[in-house]
Symmetry: C2
Subunit: 574 residues, 2 copies
């Protein structure tokens, strides 16, 4: 079973619940029209399905052999990457001044989902290049931009993001890689990095590393970190003093080379500062929303791929005279998979539209409001989507029965691949803490309150529709929003403490559950209005409301009542 | 990080909440005393930790190469297996008349947990031999018993269970392997089987296959299936006409050879009937409680191993100046892992004690009552434990951050290994359907009602203890039992239908949640009374009640209110 991009579903989710259509109508994207968006999605779907998807199993099996400092990507990967970049996909949302197409980030989000559903190991590489482009465009000197941006945007060269060191994972401030000022204005970088995705490979002729390092006179912690651009090959064609030392042997995304990088075997790699000295984290934060959204989309992607595979199997596989899709317990699994995937997709695309508004809205106040919305939703898009990615991939294995455990079937690869997305680009625990400590308190809580009011409006519209096909959708979603509101109020009324942090993860899940349920309901409302696959969308919204949104009260209690049992549990943690 | 069997915890769980101590006191096991049980567990713990556990990573890496019909087990495996069998572990609970030690199944359950925590791929082999012993002892002719039982009980030979064929997975009745009567009273078996665990290997000189097949004049479906004993080597030393054709390439338990078996290349393998013709399923059902409990114990086992590994990492790993175990979000993960593991262990051991009572109680009415209890709890022990095995192993990866995704760390292997236990020996969906359609209605619902009353008694005792360390334990557990009672009553009041089947999986989870929470609370009560690690046990029971048992209302609603949205969802399943 291979992947077919569900282009119609993706386009619907993007335009409606996520709000791209409204943004197009109000002119946020200039003269871009819906037909163009449709044809972009259509083409992306074809490329993902026809060219990338067949590489996924090959990549898993072949991996990325490493020899004498060189990485060999799996058969067919270089040709596919080259064709992908040549078709302009890498620069889809990148600035036009250096050759990008400057299409909506929201549309790019949908495409990122498709690349990653086709192959997570393929899709993660460009995500990092795009993040590098963002940093360079926002903070790079004109000279650096002239030298590197065009090729990074076209995809002729790829970029890497290098933060992690053995002692500095979630604690970025603990990093030790050194940068020293050279007389010519460049810097000499020495040290090493771990877990560097696509740190070395043969897809492109050059690789541009974006490296966090510390100057000799830097303050301690995150306030003493600077960002440097370090090319594998220097502008004169000579090799820079940076190399991949070894590759990790990972559970999944085998075709994505994860490297330990070494800087300064020969005295120091040459790098150039991006932004100001000691202000590297500022550059990182700019990119963070985008990179985190992209990883959330990996969660959506792997969920959708696992879903497609399980669906096809459940339709084919007969037991006791009927296809297993006709058994209620299998139906529950498939509907759980489908509704969670749809919910995560809707949240992620809405984050993409908010990101676009935060950049493109004419009114600075509107930009600021959109930035707050984007900042609020980003940790949810990242963590909720990647958590459900794992759950959906696990259900996908289960639907297959014994065949799910056999590698050749493919379901197992999704289960293995999915696991990393909850970890990298900030673990989901870090996302939850970010949501609770920084995002919920935005604008004194008004950002989140406004969002919850919008969710409530959707439910009111469901109620007003008086459509019996919704069953108890409105009642269950209202209860979920009640829970979210009470949990939010509780968080806002507390000082950040062990107690609030203990509830961060269930709070994020509660947020994603309430939001996702409402967005599925909104999609159903629009489908009813537009007579577009409405029976299916209504059934899905109802399933989510009656079977998944009902977890809300338990999650609320985890947040508001469960923490004391954690902070009091020293004896059970000894 | 290797595995150390938590012998004290295991002994406590076995004796107290599971009820082994009471059974010992009332003489269920003759003159067996607690000290003997303790020393058996102690020795098993040593063997599991010292001899088997170090093989686990080796087995994962080496797998079981297959060449010319022969399987090579990983380095060290044969020596370990031989020593394990020589120490008498294989026959621990087997009948004494053929050399077994006839110790309690409950004690064997604790040992099975330890073998499987040390290595799931190692532990699953003997589980199948033990099941084969059960079948042969209960239904075999004297001649077959004389020929095979002693060596199967000593472990000199291993046994296999062969049900599955490509078209016959959960639908055993669809199997096609043929058996034809031979003039000498034996049978000729032809056909093939898939997914046969330890179908071929080099651990023992002979392998005794227990094979389901169909006679030419057999009725259709499960009523036409007979059970045959088919040795790899015949009593005269000649090779029987059965061979492994190929091995599966699996996501986990790499060191457990999963074979496709072919019967009858040369006209038919020689087999002997066990039990009566066409009554093979009866023999299977006898073993099923035991084999399913054993797989449930694999869930407990892999959870405990993942927990130990994550715990050690969380204590060592420092971020921002302190060990990550000191961060509330990590605490939540570790407490979730620990309390789910403890809950599943308690349920599984209680099932083992019920199994013993169903065999050993003097009064036939007591045996029958115990059999009903054992039958009720078995699907919960199997499915709840293996579901949480997956969840705990996944949290174990998450606690490790990026290191969890690297194979060398070991956390990833647990995540891969854990996945199969929810599938084999009857998928967890099948378990849930068994619970809802056959077990809950036992004795007109009295079996489950009596059990729920016992749970309620535990909560009453928690309340009566007036111990503030319990927090809201009693209130939350009472609510969970309320939910379980209402959901049970709802099920009993319905005819089996699409609607009841749609709620089977959440009902089983609700059952396990209420039962597990109460059993942890009972352990805490006993610990308080006996002053045995009571602070830790109370904290754990409280965490479970306040953070996990609160999912009960959502699960109840899945059962009683969620089904209609599934049966009505045709459009979303098209």
């Amino acid at each position: 079973m291979t992947y077919r991009a569900p282009v119609a579903d993706i386009a619907f989710a993007l335009k409606h619940a996520a709000g791209l259509k409204a943004a197009l109508t109000e002119g946020l994207y200039g003269d871009l029209d819906e037909a163009t968006v449709d044809s972009v999605l259509e083409e992306a779907g074809k490329f993902a399905s026809d060219v990338i998807a067949p590489l996924n199993a090959v990549g898993d099996k072949f991996g990325t052999p490493f020899k004498d400092g060189n990485v060999t990507t799996p058969p067919g990967w270089k040709a596919a990457y080259t064709a992908w970049a040549a078709a302009g996909w890498n620069g889809l949302a990148s600035p036009a001044d250096f050759g990008g197409q400057e299409l909506p980030h929201a549309v790019n989000a949908a495409c990122i989902e498709m690349w990653n559903a086709a192959s997570m190991a393929f899709g993660i590489g460009p995500v990092l290049t795009m993040a590098a482009v963002d940093a360079l465009h926002a903070y790079g000197s004109d000279h650096l931009k002239q030298t590197y941006l065009e090729k990074l945007i076209s995809g002729e060269w790829m970029g890497t993001m290098q933060l992690t060191e053995p002692q500095a994972g979630s604690d970025v401030g603990a990093l030790r890689t050194k940068a020293e000022r050279a007389p010519d204005g460049s810097y000499r970088i020495t040290g090493s990095k771990i877990f560097i995705t696509y740190g070395e490979h043969d897809l492109t002729d050059n690789i541009i590393h974006f490296v966090l390092a510390r100057l000799p006179d830097a303050p301690a912690g995150t306030k003493g970190i600077s960002l440097f651009l370090v090319p594998k090959f220097m502008p004169d064609g000579s090799r820079n003093d940076v190399r991949a030392h070894s590759l990790e042997h990972k559970m999944g995304i085998h075709a994505s080379p994860t490297c330990t990088m070494v800087y300064g075997d020969k005295g120091g790699a040459t790098g150039w500062l991006i932004g100001e000295e000691h202000k590297g984290m500022l550059c990182m934060f700019t990119m963070m929303n985008r990179a985190r959204l992209a990883v959330g989309l990996q969660g959506v992607a792997i969920a959708d791929r696992a879903l497609q595979q399980a669906w096809a199997y459940a339709r084919d596989r007969k037991q006791m005279g009927k296809a297993i899709i006709d058994y209620p317990d299998v139906k529950r699994m498939l509907l759980t998979m489908r509704s969670l995937t749809g919910a995560a997709r809707a949240i992620s695309y809405a984050t993409g539209v908010a990101l676009d508004r935060s950049i493109r809205a004419k009114d600075p106040a509107a930009r600021e409001k959109a930035l707050a919305r984007c900042s609020l939703l980003t940790p949810v898009a990242k963590a909720f989507s990647t958590d459900i990615g794992i759950e959906v991939a696990s259900l996908g294995v289960q639907v297959h029965g014994g065949m799910g455990f056999i590698e050749e079937t493919g379901a197992a690869q999704h289960y293995r691949d999915a696991r990393i997305a909850a970890i990298y680009e900030g673990t989901n625990g870090i996302q939850a803490i970010d949501l609770v400590t920084r995002k919920v308190p935005l604008e004194g809580g008004n950002t989140v309150r406004l969002y919850m009011n919008e969710l409530r409006d959707i439910v009111t519209a469901v109620q007003a529709s008086n459509n019996p096909a919704f069953g108890e959708t409105a009642a269950r979603l209202n209860e979920a929003i009640d829970s979210l509101e009470r949990a939010t109020q509780w968080l806002l009324s507390q000082k950040t403490s062990e107690t609030t942090l203990a509830g961060a993860t269930p709070y994020l899940r509660l947020f994603g559950t309430a939001a996702g349920g409402c967005m599925l309901a909104e999609q159903a409302l629009i489908a009813l209005r537009e007579n577009d696959d409405s029976a299916s969308r209504t059934a899905l919204a109802r399933f989510f409301a009656e079977n998944i949104a009902v977890q809300a009260t338990g999650l609320e209690r985890n947040v508001t009542e469960g923490a004391q049992s954690i902070t009091d549990a020293e004896a059970a943690l000894a």
